[in-house]
Amino acid sequence: MARYILSRLAQAVVVVFVATLLLYALAYAMPGDPVAALAGENQTLDAATRAAIAAKYNLDKPFFVQYALYLGRVFHGDLGTTFAGRPVTEVIATAFPVTARLAIIAIVIETVIGVLVGLVAGRHKGSGFDSVVMTITMILLGVPSFVLAFAVQYFFGVKLRWMKPTVSEFATWGELVVPALVLAVGSIAFLIRFTRSGVVDALNSDHVKAARARGIHEWRIGLAHVLRNVLIPIVTVIGTEFGGLLGGAIITESVFNIPGFGQQVYQHIIRGETAPTVSLVSVLVIIFVTVNLLVDLLYAVLNPKVRYGAHE
């Protein structure tokens, strides 16, 4: 197990390194001139000023020189500075907790609602509850999250005024519940359907039938034979959905004006700020890689059959 973890960590380092190179190349190749963006709509910049600004941010150097300079700074703990003169580490420190809160609420909501409703629907396959759930999840899967976000914002924020249309500068746990729910809706629907079919399959499986024949209590069958088998793939699904969650956060944060990570990434991309963009997105890559590593390890814990490294 320890060896497995070490090799996976080594892989992760390579993945992150390659990702920064690719990201830097993409950010470098982004069309447009960041200096022009700084000047706003009215272009009164003369060539001398333009050149001086470009030199200040190393924009005048060739790609590999820029990348090497960037990487050199990263190894000294300097993730770059924004045009506003703010260290990127500071941007991460303030924006990350906000998105973390959003993501945690979203994951908790999607796991609790998704698994519970899925279990009940699967257990009572074909019931009225099951068909209502199946219909609603079908609708929710078809609605793009930004459409739902606008609908919720307009209806509950403007028409009914049950909530404010946007989140305050503090982005508290309470304020983030509705945006997190909107963010999680697609995953909830998917997870309900996934769990439900897992339960249906498990209930029809031979080992459950055998357990029933042995007269084991339904509750025990449910916990030991059905739930355990269903949970294993669900853990993987939640792990992969997490990536989608981080991507979806950019839209959700923009609609509800949440001062999180997604907003920062968006703004630095728009301004063509290479180093901050690469640093911020790399953090997302690291999180994604870490979460997937954890999921794989958890998989081993839940499923003794998958003993990593056992074959060695």
């Binding site: 069309p31 447009g32 001139d33 022009a36 700084l38 709509e41 009215n42 272009q43 009164t44 910049l45 003369d46 060539a47 001398a48 000023t49 050149a51 001086a52 600004i53 045009f83 506003a84 003169g85 703010r86 924006a95 609708i139 609605v143 459409v147 739902l148 606008f150 609908a151 919720v152 914002q153 307009y154 209806f155 509950f156 924020g157 403007v158 028409k159 049950w162 909530m163 404010k164 249309p165 946007t166 989140v167 305050s168 500068e169 503090f170 508290t172 309470g174 304020e175 519940v177 509705v178 729910l181 809706v185 923009s254 609609v255 004006n257 001062p259 907003q263 703004q267 728009i270 301004r271």
Partner: protein, 551 residues
């Protein structure tokens, strides 16, 4: 653009039906309670109830000579007071920090300052604060975005050599201190509009503390305006502004402070104003279509309309430079039904253009000789196209896809196609900066969309900045005309404003003859406001937020 709003409203109904409604009812109530404490940062002053306005993260320091972008300007306008500003009622320039600005020859100006003005740190605003700020702003070593505005002052080329080499002087030759509160400015040539130019942020003063430690100032800017920062700007969320207790100018705030809240999506700000969660914003895109219905009399239209949207042509191109090219341009202009596009695409938030500046400026005219080329006249257009020997190539119309231009560019292309039979094709670039880069590389073979707004209330400002080589000629078309330059120069030598305006409008006649750009319309960007505020105005040359009253 319209679809977003329709979808949003239609789906609002759908959302109710779903099981979501029950869940949301619970969470929603909790959210409303949590969100109400947004003013907590202001506990120090009990009555602090700031007017909240939408803004965008400034993305850079707030040094006035570096503040061209709108996100910065909104803040800089509140934090600083210039020598002069624009009176929101008369739209004329009035003195602020300056007690008087005089000149006998329109070239050497004597500026006397009011002696009672202070920065928000309590230090006096003196002649040196202007001289040093402008010198620092012009120095190439500091690479200030708006340094070009200072090029009218003698000695700029020594501080800011155009070849990119280092400055050869440390002092601004044209700036002379007479005493603590008087200084003179010598310009490179007579320029009667200098007083108008002084309204722009580039000419704001900087306090002594800035020159001692610019980096410390960058983190916590101090100015001499009606407001001061309560704490450093939070790039992610916004900026709280308190009153500057030392402020003595005309812009005495009618409110207790401002909160500039940053948004990345203008629609989120619009929803917030609808729900009274934000006081003032400018609607964009689809929201503009519903703004009148949503807000009724809580919508204000600007007194000066602008920017002026144009189709600007690549005058470096041999065909467009030729006399046939001119005829085709005239034909295109006559074939565009501006009224129809203004009504259908802009929902009335635009006015068909009559000149190369913006409507509402002092001296603006709708009947400049040659402006009939902006009429809608298909017969005349067809005749001109025939005279030019037709135009059979594809006519690309370039625009940047990151702005809301697609709809009207398509409408214009369709009209050209329908009325002239020219194959006009909209060509988007991904971003505005990509657009500028391609234009600078001469990759454009046909017209592009441009929208220009004057930086100051002088009728000549746009003519100079957009079309003249004595400005930055930023239309990018590379059109030049000696006759045009001569008319502007004549205007700048006039002491009398009306005499100057006559010359500037004669310069516009030359623009109409050559037509390097086709003026289309002046956009009207309204503001909408919440039920909590009153006395809201819009002004393109500075902020009128100081006038807003909040219950």
């Amino acid at each position: 653009m319209t679809t977003k709003n329709t979808i949003r409203k239609a789906l609002a109904a759908l959302a109710t039906g779903a099981l979501l409604a029950g869940v949301l009812a619970g969470c929603g109530a909790a959210t409303a309670k949590d969100g109400s404490g947004s003013g907590s940062a202001s506990a120090s002053t009990a009555a602090y109830n700031p007017v909240s306005v939408s803004g965008t993260a400034p993305g850079g320091d707030l040094i006035p000579t570096n503040s061209q972008e709108s996100g910065k300007k909104v803040l800089v306008w509140q934090l600083f007071d210039g020598l002069v500003d624009v009176d929101p009622d008369t739209r004329k320039v009035r003195n602020e920090v300056a007690e008087s600005i005089t000149s006998d020859d329109q070239q050497t100006w004597t500026i006397k300052l009011n002696k009672d003005r202070k920065f928000s740190d309590g230090t006096d605003v003196k002649a040196d604060n202007f001289i040093k700020a402008w010198t620092w702003g012009a120095d190439i070593a500091n690479a200030q975005i708006a340094s070009g505005d200072l090029a009218v002052i003698k000695g700029y080329d020594k501080l800011h050599p155009s070849d990119g080499s280092k400055a050869t002087a440390t002092e601004f030759e044209g700036l002379k201190k007479v005493d603590d509160y008087t200084f003179t400015v010598e310009l490179t040539s007579p320029y009667s509009s200098f007083v108008n130019l002084l309204t722009s942020v580039t000419f704001y003063p900087l306090p002594d503390s800035f020159f001692k430690d610019p980096d410390a100032w960058r983190k916590n800017p101090v100015g001499n305006g009606p407001y001061k920062l309560q704490k450093p700007v939070d790039e992610a969320t916004g900026a709280y502004l308190d009153l500057n207790k030392y402020y003595k100018g005309n812009r005495k705030p009618h409110n207790t402070g401002l909160y500039v809240r940053f948004y990345t999506d203008s629609s989120a700000a619009y929803q917030d104003v609808l729900a009274d969660n934000l006081d003032i914003t400018s609607p964009g895109g689809a929201d503009l279509l519903t703004a009148k219905d949503d807000f009724g009399d809580r919508l204000v239209e600007p007194t000066i309309t602008g920017p002026n949207t144009t189709l600007t042509f690549p005058m470096w191109d041999d065909f467009w430079k030729s006399s046939n090219g001119l005829k085709v341009r005239q034909a295109i202009s006559l074939a565009i039904d501006r009224e129809e596009i203004v009504d259908k695409v802009f929902n009335g938030y635009a006015v068909p253009a009559k000149d190369f500046t913006v409507k509402g400026l002092y001296g603006w005219s709708d009947s400049i000789k040659g402006s009939d080329v902006l009429d809608f006249n298909v017969t005349k257009a067809k005749a001109l196209l025939k005279e030019a020997g037709g135009y059979t190539k594809e006519l690309p119309i370039y625009y940047n896809a990151d702005g809301a231009h697609k709809q009207w560019v398509e409408a214009v292309a369709n009209q050209i196609k329908k009325n002239l039979g020219i194959n006009a094709v909209p060509k988007p670039t991904t971003t505005f900066s990509d657009f500028l880069e391609k234009r600078a590389d001469h990759q454009f073979t046909g017209p592009w969309r441009a929208s220009e707004i004057p930086f100051n209330p002088g009728l000549d400002d746009m003519l100079r900045n957009v079309y003249s080589t004595s400005g930055s000629a930023n239309s990018g078309s590379e059109w030049t005309s000696d006759a045009f330059e001569a008319k502007l120069k004549e205007g700048w030598q006039q002491k009398d404003t009306d005499a100057a305006i006559e010359k500037f409008n004669e310069a516009q006649e030359i623009l109409f003859q050559d037509l390097p750009a086709i003026p289309l319309w002046y956009t009207k960007i309204p503001s909408v406001y919440s039920t909590k505020v009153s006395n809201v105005h819009t002004n393109v040359f500075g902020s009128t937020l100081y006038l807003v009253e909040k219950q």
